[in-house]
């Protein structure tokens, strides 16, 4: 177990380093640099040079990369202040420390994602199990049909519809906004309920289908049939035998979907004009802001890698046949 965690952590660190390197060199290799963009169309060479110097762009590229990467471990000193240990540099565009900006924006993304994950896991798995339990009935047909149609919807289509119905035309709710969950959990829930529902709808539909298929497959297994044959109650077999087995493929897919979840959060943020990580990525890209882009990419990748390791541990817990080694 411990060995597994150590091995995976080392692998994750290596992957992060490579992602950082790829991001950095792709960004630097592009013929345009931020300095000339910030300088504008009629730029004197002297001014361009001064901007470069201020941003540290006059240093050799390898040196810049080293400064950035070592800054994450040791921290860096900038002319206008020190940047403590996990230092992701200073944004070219706004001048803020990237780490602080990310910490400022990230709670929105992560709480919204976690919230909708709870929704889609509870509703999706519940509906899927119910459909499998009552296979062939009206409930099953409705659940299957609805999940098929809903999974074809897109967040950027469903979002404006939800806003039109719930906010603009009826005034039942207010425009989505973010209130820190630590300050006001109720306000957080009310403010983010529409984005969370919209974001979870598509995932709910997908997980309903998956849970149903997985459950039906489990119910056809030999050990389930044997349990039924020796007289165990339908409910006991369903929940103690089939349910646990049907979770295995779902945990696997959930682990694979983490990146898609983050992507879904990004789309949701953009749809509802919320200031999260996705907006940050768009800003970084549109302003050619290298440190900001690096920070967002590394942070996103870090998160996915950590959660992937967690998913593998959960996987081993759910499926006793799997041994972590």
């Amino acid at each position: 177990m411990l060995q597994f965690i150590i091995r995976r952590t080392v692998g994750a660190a290596l992957t992060l380093f490579l992602i950082g390197a790829t991001t950095f060199f792709l960004f630097v290799a592009a013929p345009s640099d931020y300095a000339s963009l910030a300088c504008g169309k009629d730029c004197s060479p002297a001014r361009l040079e001064s901007i470069r110097e201020a941003l540290g762009l006059n240093l050799p590229i390898a040196q810049q990369f080293w400064d950035f990467m070592s800054g994450i471990v040791t921290g860096r000193d900038f002319p206008d202040g020190h940047c403590a240990a996990p230092c992701l540099g200073q944004s070219f565009y706004s001048g803020d420390m990237v780490w602080d900006t990310i910490l400022d924006r990230f709670p929105l993304t992560i709480t919204m994602t976690a919230g909708s994950m709870v929704v889609f896991l509870v509703v999706g798995l519940g509906a899927g199990m119910l459909a499998a339990y009552k296979r062939g009935s009206t409930v099953d047909k409705v659940a299957t049909g609805a999940s098929m149609v809903l999974s074809s919807f897109q967040i950027y289509f469903l979002g404006p519809i939800a806003l039109t119905v719930l906010v603009y035309s009826t005034g039942w709710m207010e425009d989505p906004k973010y209130v820190p969950i630590t300050e006001d959990p109720v306000g957080w829930f009310v403010g983010l309920s529409i984005p969370m529902v919209v974001m979870s709808t598509i995932f709910t539909a997908q997980y309903t289908r998956m849970a149903r298929a997985s459950m039906i497959e489990q119910l056809a297994e030999d050990h389930v049939r044997t349990a039924r044959a020796k007289g165990m109650s339908q409910k006991y077999v369903f929940f103690r035998y089939a349910w646990r087995g049907s979770l295995i493929p779902i945990v696997t897919i959930l682990g694979i979907d983490l990146s898609a979840l983050l992507g879904g959060a990004v789309v949701t943020e953009l749809t509802f004009s919320l200031q999260g990580i996705g907006r940050l990525a768009v800003d970084g890209a549109l302003h050619k802001d290298l440190p900001l882009t690096m920070g967002v990419m590394l942070f996103g990748a870090f998160f996915i890698l950590i959660l992937n390791i967690l998913a593998d541990i959960v996987y081993a817990y759910v499926d006793p046949r799997v041994r972590l080694s």
Binding site: S36, M148, F157, G159, V266, G278, V282, A301, N308
Partner: protein
């Protein structure tokens, strides 16, 4: 010489006789003809009503998109004219004083079948048709490229196995660990900057090329994994070993023995991949880093729809409905193709 066997009329000599052989062949009932796996698949697919219907819908989307200029010639509109601002059309007002469409459902009328865009007064029908053309054919190109790359990499990993497979697998994992959507957003401008000076206007073709490259870089892994695992199991099969023993070159084994057996998973994956590529392209335009004004694009219509949602919610209706129907049909088609190839995988 009179052959005793001929006199006896045994089977083997009958077959040797050209006259008799031809008559027996004609007499043979047609049912005995062998069917290739492709024919079997096609037969099963044809019986699947949902699948056939959805295939029809999907094909008609592509045909409509391809014929966008012809159809818009019929409706007499085009996606670039600002019907609300152009003085030529001043006698047919489409927008009110606030820049909102006149009439119902976003200004649906005889001239503007799906209504007009608020503020500019562009024709939504033409924008949608041209937008579909951009998105669908872009996605077709990207997906084909992804499939070719994924299949090649998967074949290399699966066929050679061992150390090659290990490193190919590590590279695949590495690409998989990128936060995909964030990468797409972050690298669109960067890749565009490879071709054009960022201070100048980017031509649409370079934007399309940039989208192609970005999606291609991070899109091949699923296919590569699928092909690798299939090839890995095929590699140990007897017919491949037989080919090896009889001295076939690796290229021949891959081409003649392995590829025909991975065609069906590839095709199934392709039908799932294509709609998701369309959605990713739409997502890029929605985020504001894909296609930009005035290129008509499906995703851009959603960005505009989100902008106008408060004043003119009807604007979103037709593009959204079209997308939902398309994705739904494509997903159902994917399921049908899978079922047709593998009758065991019943739903």
């Amino acid at each position: 010489m009179t052959s005793p066997t001929k006199a006896e009329g045994s089977g083997s000599t009958v077959a040797l006789d050209p006259d008799l052989a031809s008559t027996t062949e004609v007499a043979k009932p047609k049912k005995l003809e062998g069917r290739s796996p492709g024919q079997l698949m096609w037969q099963r697919f044809r019986r699947d009503r949902t699948g056939m219907f959805c295939a029809g819908v999907v094909i008609s989307y592509f045909v409509i998109a391809l014929l966008a200029p012809v159809i818009t010639a019929l409706s007499g509109t085009n996606p670039y004219t600002l019907y609300g601002q152009d003085p030529t059309y001043a006698d047919q007002p489409v927008l009110d004083d606030f820049g909102l469409p006149l009439g119902y459902l976003g200004g649906v009328s005889g001239e503007h079948w799906f209504g007009v865009e608020p503020q500019y007064g562009r024709d939504l029908f033409a924008m949608l048709l041209y937008g579909m053309r951009t998105s669908l054919f872009m996605a077709l190109g990207v997906t084909t490229l992804l499939v070719i790359t994924g299949v090649t990499i998967g074949l290399i990993g699966g066929y050679f196995g061992g150390r090659t497979d290990y490193w190919v697998g590590r590279i695949t994992d590495f690409f998989l660990s990128f936060p995909q959507q964030l990468f797409f957003i972050a690298f669109m401008p960067v890749v565009t900057a490879f071709f054009v000076d960022p201070r100048e206007e980017t031509p649409t073709y370079f934007r399309a090329l940039a989208i192609l490259i970005v999606l291609w870089l991070l899109g091949w892994m699923g296919m590569a994994r699928l092909v690798r695992s299939t090839v890995l199991s095929l590699r140990e099969r007897e017919f491949v070993e037989a080919a090896k023993v009889s001295g076939a070159s690796p290229w021949r084994i891959v081409r003649k023995e392995i590829l025909p057996n991975v065609v069906s998973p590839i095709l199934v994956q392709f039908t799932y991949q294509l709609p998701s590529t369309i959605l990713t392209i739409a997502f890029l335009s929605f985020a504001g880093v894909g296609f930009v004004e005035p290129t008509p694009d499906w995703g851009r219509l959603f960005a505009a729809g989100a902008k106008y949602a408060e004043q003119d919610p009807a604007f979103m209706f037709f593009p959204g409905l079209a997308l939902v129907v398309f994705v739904l049909c494509f997903n159902l088609l994917g399921d049908s193709v899978r079922d047709a190839f593998d009758p065991k995988s019943g739903r």
